[in-house]
C-alpha cells in the first residue's frame, strides 16, 4: 500500500492552487487536512485505516500504484527531498512543525530553513487578562537568536495589558539584523501600546525603521508614534512604503503625516484620523510624482462632546479624484450630533460612510446631496423620526450605492420599499434590523419581505434578534 513519494507529489498537486491565497487563517482547515494525511502515511505505514484520503486522491493512487510500487519499496523517510518537506512544512502549524522536526536530523534542518520563518505572528497575552494562549517565551527567544534575520512579515497581537505591549517592544528592539517588509502592531482588546512610555515605544519602533530599509506595509493604529519617528521611517523606507495605517495616533501632527506623503510617492493606502487630514495632505497625495491612491480611511472621532472640526476644501477633494479616479474614501464618524456642522456642506468623494453614533436627519439629508460616489452606508442610530425622504434622496442621487445597514433608526415600510425599488438589484447588502421598519397603511411586516425580495430579485429578510 505504502508509496510515500507518490503521496507527497499528489498532496502538493492538490494544494498548489491554494498557495495563491495563503494568508494564515483561511488555509487552516487545509493545513489540518494535510497534516492528517502526512501523519497517516508517516506512522500508519501507508495503510488506509485512520483518516481516509479524499476520493480523487485514492483513485489516482490506485491507478498509478503498480508501476510506482516497485520503485518505492522501503523508502527512507529521512531522505525525502528537502524541497518537498519544506513545502509540506509551510502548511503545518508551528507546533506540528516543531514535533515533526524531532523525526530526524534532516527534518530538523528543514525546520530551521529561512523560508519557514519569513512570516511570524507574535501573540502576546497575559494569563491574567486574556483567555487566549500566548507565543511561548522560549520560542520567542529562539526566533530572536536563530531566525530574526529571516523575519520579513511580522505582526504582534497584544491583549489589553501593558505588560504585553511592553513585551512587544522588547522584541521589536531586538530586531536589529532583520529587514522587515510588513509590520503590524495590533491591539486585540484595549489599546495597550498607548499606556507605554512614549519614548520606550518610539525607540523600539525606530529600531525597525532604521534597520529594515524596505518596509512596504505598516499598521500602527492606536500607538504613541510621533512626528520624529515618522521622519525616521521616511528617511529609511520612502521608496518602498505602500501602506500606512495609523488611526488613533494622537502624537502625530498634520505636518508629520504631510512629510510622509511628500516623500513616499508609492503610498497607496493610508488610514488616519480626521485631525491629520489637511488640504495640503490631499494635494500632496495628488501630486504628479505620487502613484494613484487606492484607499484612504479617515476616522472622525470625538470622545467628549463639543469638539470643533475644520473643513476641507472641495478643490482639494477634486484634485484627489482627478489624480486617483478610482480611490475609495472610507469615513468613520463617531461624533456627537451637534458636531457635524462642517461636514457634508460640499461635494465629497466618499465611498464608504459609517455613522457609529446617532446622526441627525439633517446630516443624512446632506449626505444624499453631496456624496455622489457613495457605495456603502451604515447608520447605527438616528432620532425617533423616520428617515423616509432622506433614504429616497440617497437612492436617487447616490447611484453607486450597493450596501446599506441600519441599526436603531426608523423607516416607514412604504418608503423602504420605494428605496429598494429605486436601487434595485445593485443593493447587494441590505442589513436592516426588523425594528427599523414601521408598518403603515400599505405594507405590514409580513408583506415587506415579499415586496423587497421582488425588487432585489432574491429572497430577503430583515435582521431579527431574539425576543426571549
Amino acid at each position: 500500500m505504502g508509496c510515500p513519494a507518490l503521496v507527497q507529489v499528489e498532496t502538493s498537486e492538490l494544494f498548489i492552487p491554494t498557495e495563491a491565497n495563503a494568508p494564515s487563517q483561511q488555509t487552516g482547515i487545509m493545513k489540518r487536512a494535510l497534516c492528517l494525511r502526512v501523519t497517516e502515511e508517516d506512522f500508519g505505514e501507508g495503510s488506509s485505516h485512520g483518516v481516509l484520503p479524499a476520493p480523487e486522491f485514492r483513485k489516482r493512487k490506485r491507478k498509478q500504484k503498480p508501476k510506482e510500487e516497485e520503485e518505492e519499496v522501503g523508502v527512507d523517510w529521512a531522505r525525502m527531498p528537502q524541497e518537498i518537506l519544506l513545502h509540506i512544512f509551510q502548511y503545518l502549524p508551528l507546533l506540528d512543525r516543531a514535533h515533526a522536526s524531532l523525526v530526524s536530523r534532516g527534518w530538523n534542518q528543514v525546520f530551521h530553513m529561512p523560508e519557514l520563518w519569513r512570516f511570524f505572528e507574535f501573540e502576546l497575552n497575559q494569563p491574567a487578562s486574556s483567555y487566549l494562549k500566548a507565543t511561548h517565551p522560549d520560542l520567542i527567544k529562539q526566533i530572536i537568536k536563530k531566525h530574526s534575520n529571516h523575519l520579513q512579515y511580522v505582526s504582534f497581537k497584544v491583549d489589553s495589558s501593558t505588560e504585553s505591549a511592553e513585551a512587544a517592544c522588547d522584541i521589536l528592539s531586538q530586531l536589529v539584523n532583520c529587514s522587515l517588509k510588513t509590520l503590524g502592531l495590533i491591539s486585540t482588546a484595549r489599546p495597550s501600546f498607548m499606556e507605554l512610555p512614549k519614548s520606550h515605544f518610539i525607540s523600539a519602533l525606530t529600531v525597525v525603521f532604521v534597520n529594515s530599509k524596505s518596509l512596504s506595509s505598516l499598521k500602527i493604529d492606536d500607538t504613541p508614534v510621533d512626528d520624529p519617528s515618522l521622519k525616521v521611517l521616511v528617511a529609511n523606507n520612502s521608496d518602498t512604503l505602500k501602506l500606512l495605517k495609523m488611526s488613533s495616533c494622537p502624537h502625530v501632527s498634520p505636518a508629520g503625516i504631510l512629510c510622509v506623503a511628500d516623500q513616499c510617492h508609492g503610498l497607496r493606502e493610508l488610514a488616519l484620523n480626521y485631525h491629520l487630514l489637511s488640504d495640503e495632505l490631499l494635494l500632496s497625495l495628488s501630486s504628479e510624482k505620487h502613484v494613484h491612491l487606492e484607499h484612504l480611511r479617515i476616522d472622525v472621532v470625538s470622545d467628549t462632546p463639543g469638539q470643533h472640526f475644520h473643513s476641507i476644501r472641495k478643490s482639494s477633494w477634486d484634485a484627489m479624484v482627478k489624480h486617483s479616479p478610482k480611490f475609495s474614501l472610507v469615513m468613520y464618524f463617531f461624533l456627537y450630533e451637534d458636531e457635524f456642522g462642517p461636514f457634508f456642506r460640499d461635494e465629497i468623494p466618499v465611498t464608504h460612510l459609517y455613522f457609529g453614533r446617532s446622526v441627525s436627519k439633517d446630516v443624512l439629508g446632506r449626505v444624499g446631496l453631496h456624496c455622489p460616489r457613495l457605495v456603502e452606508l451604515v447608520v447605527c442610530a438616528n432620532g425617533l423620526r423616520p428617515l423616509d425622504e432622506e433614504l429616497i434622496r440617497i437612492a436617487r442621487r447616490c447611484t453607486q450605492l450597493s450596501a446599506i445597514g441600519l441599526g436603531e433608526c426608523e423607516v416607514s415600510c412604504s418608503a423602504f420599499v420605494e428605496f429598494v425599488q429605486m436601487c434595485g438589484r445593485r443593493l447587494s447588502q441590505l442589513s436592516i434590523m426588523e425594528e427599523v421598519l414601521i408598518p403603515d397603511h400599505r405594507y405590514g411586516l409580513d408583506d415587506i419581505h415579499w415586496e423587497v425580495s421582488k425588487h432585489l430579485g432574491r429572497v430577503w429578510f430583515p435582521d431579527m434578534m431574539p425576543c426571549w
Partner: protein, 570 residues
C-alpha cells in the same frame, strides 16, 4: 402484577399537557409523583434566591393540585442516582415516566437513570413535551446538523407538520384508581422545603413579582391571550418604558420551568388568530418568541460545549478581556450608567427583564463597551434570570455578543442613547435607581453631564452618591467595533472594506436557507414574480471590487509562501 408508577418531575411542573404523567397513570395501580431536589441542583445551574423561590412556589402549587386528585408530590432530597435505586425498592416501582430532556446535561443524567431502572427491571416511558418540535427531528431534516440561522430554522419548521395538540389536564377519574396510602409523615419526609430550610435569608423579602406555579401560569395565559386579542392586527407592540416593566401577561418564566406547556400556548395563539382572521394560517411571526426558544434548544441539543467559547465549534473565538473588577461593577449595577444599572437592579430584584433590556446589558458587557466574555454574563443571568434555560441563555449570550448566529455586528447599543430612546422620561431609571429621582429628564441617562448645581439640587452627586461612568462609552464602543471587525475579517474570506459583509462560517447556511425559501415561497406568489425568478437559486458570491486593497497589504506574505519552494529549487 401490580403496576406501581413513579412520575419524575424535573421541568414540566404542570398537570396540563403532560404526556409522561399520563403514561404514569395509564392502567397503574399506584402513582407517585417525585421531584428530586439536590441543593447543588442540576449540574451547571447556580440558582439565586428568586429562582429558588419560583421553583418552590411551583412545587407547592403542583402539590396542591395533586392533592385535589388525591395524589401528593414527593420532594426527595438527594442525587437521582442515589435516590432511584432506594425508591424503586421501597415502593416496589414497576414503571418510571418522565419528560424527555434534549439538553446535553439532561440527556446524560437521564441515560444514567434509564440504565439504573432497566437494571432493576423497571419499565420506562419517556415523552416529549418540552419543546414544540423535537430538536433531533429538525437536525435530521437539516442534514444532521443543527441550523445556525434563525431563518434557516424557520424554513425547516415550515416543512414540518404542526406541533402535537396539547393533552388535557389530568382528571380525578384518572387518578381515582391509583391512590397510594402512605400519607403518614409525608410533609416531614417529602414536603416542599422553605427558602429558610435551604439556607436563604428571607427577612424583609417582599412578595415575588413572578409567583411560581401552574395555576398562576394558566391565569397569565388567559390575560396574555386577551392582550394579544385586543391588538387586532397582531403586530409587535411599540416598545416604551412600560414594556420594560414586569407584565401580568408575561409567560417566559412559566415556559422555562414548564409550568406552562409551549404547545398549549402555541395552540391558544393559533386558535385566536384563526378566529380573528377567518381561518387564515397564522404567520410564523405570531410565535416568534416560542420559536426563538426552539431555535436555541435545537442548536444546543448535540453540543455539550454550547455554554462556552473554547472548544465550542459554533462560537467565534474572541480575545475578550478577563477583568473581574469590571464584571463585578456590571453584575452589581454600579457601572455609573443609569440605564444599565436600572436593568441590572430590576433583574436582581424581580428576576425578569425585557428582551431589549437584555440586549442592552449584554451588549454593554461584551462587544459594546467592557469587552468581557459573554460566558461571565451568562453565569450572572443563570443565577438571576427566572427564564434562563441552559440552551436559551447560552444561545442568547452568544447572539448578543456576536459570537455565533449573527451577522450584523456594526451596530451596538449605546448605554446612553438606547436608554434615552426607550425610556425618554426616565420613569424606568427612577423606579429602579431612586437616588436619581431628582434629576431632570435631560440628564437622567447621563447624570455625570449635569452641572454641579443640578446634581446638588437633585440631591445626588456623581462620584459621591452615584458612581461615575466606569468607561468612556463613546471611546470604548468605537474601539470595540474595530476589534470586532478585525475578528470577523480574519474569519471570513471576505476582505472588503465594508462592515456589512457576510461571515463565511454561516454564509453557506444563509444561502441554503435562501435556496429553500426561493424554490418554495417565490414559486407560491405566482403573478408577482417574473417566470425566470421562480427557479433562481442564490446569486453567486459577489466579487468585491475592494478585495484588492487587503491583498496589497498582505500580498507579500502570500508571495513568501510561494517563493519559498521556488527558492529552494534554485
Amino acid at each position: 402484577m401490580a403496576v406501581n408508577s413513579v412520575h419524575w418531575f424535573r421541568k414540566g411542573l404542570r398537570l396540563h399537557d403532560n404526556p409522561a404523567l399520563q403514561e404514569a397513570l395509564d392502567g397503574a395501580d399506584t402513582v407517585r409523583c417525585v421531584y428530586i431536589m439536590d441543593r447543588c441542583f442540576v449540574g451547571s445551574d447556580n440558582f439565586g434566591l428568586n429562582r429558588w423561590r419560583f421553583l418552590l412556589e411551583a412545587l407547592e402549587d403542583l402539590d396542591a393540585s395533586l392533592r385535589k386528585l388525591n395524589l401528593r408530590l414527593f420532594v426527595v432530597r438527594g442525587q437521582p442516582t442515589d435516590v432511584f435505586p432506594r425508591l424503586i425498592k421501597e415502593w416496589n416501582v414497576t414503571r418510571l415516566t418522565f419528560e424527555y430532556d434534549s439538553e446535553p446535561y439532561g440527556k446524560k443524567r437521564d441515560a444514567t437513570i434509564l440504565k439504573v431502572a432497566q437494571d432493576l427491571g423497571v419499565e420506562t416511558r419517556i415523552k416529549h413535551s418540552q419543546t414544540l418540535y423535537t430538536p433531533a427531528r429538525i437536525i435530521e431534516l437539516n442534514n444532521n446538523a443543527a441550523p445556525l440561522t434563525f431563518k434557516r430554522f424557520q424554513a425547516l419548521v415550515q416543512r414540518l407538520e404542526l406541533p402535537k395538540r396539547p393533552l388535557p389536564l389530568v382528571t380525578r377519574q384518572q387518578t381515582d384508581c391509583c391512590q397510594t396510602d402512605d400519607t403518614a409523615n409525608h410533609d416531614k419526609c417529602y414536603g416542599v422545603p422553605s427558602l429558610e430550610e435551604l439556607g436563604f435569608k428571607t427577612q424583609g423579602l417582599g412578595p415575588a413579582v413572578w409567583r411560581g406555579g401552574e395555576s398562576e401560569a394558566l391565569e397569565r395565559l388567559n390575560s396574555h391571550v386577551d392582550k394579544k386579542g385586543c391588538m387586532a392586527n397582531f403586530e409587535r407592540p411599540n416598545i416604551s418604558a412600560s414594556s420594560l416593566m414586569a407584565s401580568p401577561s408575561g409567560l417566559s418564566p412559566y415556559l422555562s420551568f414548564g409550568c406552562l406547556s409551549c404547545r398549549t400556548l402555541y395552540y391558544r395563539l393559533r386558535d385566536l388568530y384563526m378566529t380573528a382572521r377567518k381561518r387564515c394560517t397564522p404567520p410564523l411571526s405570531l410565535f416568534a418568541q416560542l420559536l426563538w426558544r426552539e431555535f436555541f434548544y435545537t442548536a444546543a441539543a448535540n453540543n455539550p460545549t454550547f455554554d462556552r467559547m473554547r472548544g465550542n465549534p459554533i462560537c467565534v473565538q474572541v480575545p475578550w478581556d478577563d477583568n473581574p473588577g469590571a464584571l463585578a461593577k456590571w453584575a452589581e449595577g454600579r457601572t455609573g450608567f443609569p440605564w444599565i444599572d436600572a436593568i441590572i437592579t430590576q433583574l436582581r430584584e424581580e428576576g425578569w427583564i425585557h428582551h431589549l433590556a437584555r440586549h442592552a446589558v449584554a451588549c454593554f458587557l461584551t462587544r459594546g463597551n467592557l469587552w468581557t466574555s459573554w460566558e461571565s454574563g451568562m453565569k450572572v443571568f443563570e443565577e438571576l434570570l427566572l427564564d434562563a434555560d441552559w440552551s436559551v441563555n447560552a444561545g442568547s449570550w452568544m447572539w448578543m455578543s456576536c459570537s455565533a448566529f449573527f451577522q450584523q455586528f456594526f451596530h451596538s447599543y449605546c448605554p446612553v442613547g438606547f436608554g434615552r430612546r426607550t425610556d425618554p422620561n426616565g420613569d424606568y431609571v427612577r423606579k429602579y435607581i431612586p437616588k436619581l429621582r431628582g434629576y431632570p429628564n435631560r440628564y437622567i441617562h447621563e447624570p455625570w453631564a449635569a452641572p454641579e448645581s443640578v446634581q446638588k439640587a437633585a440631591g445626588c452627586l456623581v462620584g459621591v452618591d452615584y458612581p461615575r461612568p466606569m468607561v468612556n462609552h463613546a471611546q470604548s464602543n468605537r474601539l470595540n467595533v474595530e476589534r470586532m471587525k478585525q475578528i470577523y475579517k480574519s474569519l471570513s474570506n471576505y476582505k472588503g472594506l465594508s462592515l456589512l459583509g457576510p461571515v463565511s462560517t454561516i454564509q453557506e447556511e444563509v444561502e441554503s436557507a435562501v435556496m429553500t425559501e426561493n424554490s418554495r415561497t417565490l414559486g407560491n406568489i405566482s403573478g408577482t414574480v417574473p417566470e425566470d425568478r421562480k427557479t433562481a437559486g442564490p446569486s453567486p458570491p459577489r466579487k468585491r471590487s475592494h478585495d484588492r486593497l487587503e491583498r496589497t497589504e498582505w500580498g507579500p506574505q502570500a508571495k513568501a509562501h510561494c517563493s519559498a519552494s521556488a527558492n529552494n529549487q534554485q
